[in-house]
Amino acid sequence: MFVNRERVKTYIRQTLEECVSIGVNSIFLVAIVSIFAGAVASIQIYHTLTSPLLGDFLVGYGVREMTILETAPTVMAIVFAARVGSSIAGQLGSMRISEQIDALEILGINTTSYLVLPKILASILTYPFLVIISAFLAIYSGLISSQFAVSVAPADYIYGLRHAFDPYSVYFAIYKSIVYAFLISSISAYRGFYISGGAVAIGKASTRAVTDSCIAILLADYILTQLLLHPSFKI
């Protein structure tokens, strides 16, 4: 991927185009999922955890912890894999079947670096921003939902958000998002780039891309949580 490269300008243009296709075009789906995830989480936490002894602030606290640690980076990664992973595998697979990749290779172009590298870079560049947007929307929708659905006072919710806040959890989410973005884009690109056959193969490659990405995300989630939350690994 890193030998016989094209001009830097070409990669910048390709990466920017992929940032729009992969990142900007995913905002709507990520926003919808995040808004509902945050709203539902606040109601469930209210019914599960709050009591006259514990207080309503737990709703804000619970939504914050759940969102930053898992929902925004990991659950959104599954959504991202479904949307972007299948798209990458389908696009590259279709290019392979219709000989478009061969047409690039005939021109002496390093197809892996020209086609795959910008997708990986764009994923790594944009997914952390999607995670930040997701976390913000989920927490904000939790605030609105808890106020109108279960009558938690905004002040209590915001107190919960601030309660025992460790900024490291935000870094933790960002680190995870970078790893997930790399896994999703590289696995999906591999599945699409190396297919052979016809239209059925493209469908199978897309399915394998999503399935493998999801498994990789869950495995990476477990390993990263063990590593990054361990006191000796805290950066």
Binding site: N4, E99, Q100, D102, A103, E105, I106
Partner: protein, 250 residues
């Protein structure tokens, strides 16, 4: 001139090409013919470097293509144009961007000069007013013509065509054949066409290489092909009812 010696290739232990040798000269339309599954497309893909042969050698104007340095291989590839069976146009780009692409990637020409060259090539293949059309808006014949324009835009010295007339009606196929022949003579290109289209064999083949079961069984000029006493070639040539009816009686 392209010379290849003893090209062999096997997939999963099954030999597809078995020691095929040949020579394709500049300014000639060279045909590789044979039944489906005889290794025609594999041979052309070996020559252009899309598939690495198990053994053999390939040289473009004396430049070793298989064992040369990476720079030399890339240099040779930049002189190759290829028309694919399905056109292989980039479906996210319009006609103009498709033809412009090799110039964008391989040259430092100013944008105006590149666009002039693109327009000239599109005009040359008879598609002057299709610049902004997307590939899915074009007919099969038009897609092939855009493919030809893209293949020659970079002043290619070697033009490879993989079944250029497949999927086209006889009239459109003939137009594509004539276009390929005209460009070959006009720009002194070494053109290699993989085909099993009898019209192409009769009308444009300056040199013909017949493959049968992965081996070169006959080579020669199109004028001689109907007078050869090679059983496999006769079976191939007179497989269709129409050709049997037109066959000269002994």
């Amino acid at each position: 001139m392209i010379e290849f010696q003893h090209i062999s290739k096997a997939f999963d232990g099954k030999k597809v090409l078995d020691g095929v040798s040949g020579k394709f000269e500049q300014g000639k339309v060279n045909l590789i013919i044979g039944e489906s599954g005889t290794g025609k497309s594999v041979l052309i893909k070996c020559i252009v470097g899309l598939i690495r042969p198990d053994q053999g050698s390939i040289a473009f104007d004396g430049r070793d293509f298989l064992n040369g340095s990476k720079d030399r291989t890339v240099g040779v590839r930049k002189e190759i144009g290829m028309l694919f069976q399905g056109g292989a146009l980039f479906d996210s780009k319009n006609v103009e961007e498709n033809v412009l692409f090799p110039l964008d990637m391989l040259t430092d020409m100013p944008q105006d000069a590149k666009l002039d060259r693109v327009n000239f090539c599109l005009q040359r293949v008879g598609l002057s007013n299709a610049n902004k059309k997307m590939p899915n808006e074009l007919s099969g014949g038009m897609q092939k013509r855009v493919g030809v324009a893209r293949a020659i835009v970079n002043n290619s010295k070697y033009l490879f065509c993989d079944e250029p007339t497949s999927g086209l009606d006889a009239k459109t196929g003939l137009l594509i054949d004539e276009l390929i022949q005209e460009l070959t003579y006009e720009y002194d290109i070494a053109t290699i066409v993989v085909t099993h289209d009898m019209d192409s064999i009769v009308s444009i083949g300056d040199y013909i290489l017949f493959l049968h079961q992965g081996r070169k069984t006959w080579e020669g000029a199109s004028a001689d092909i109907f007078h050869v006493d090679v059983e496999a070639l006769k079976d191939f040539l007179f497989a269709s009812k129409l050709m049997r009816m037109a066959k000269p009686q002994a």
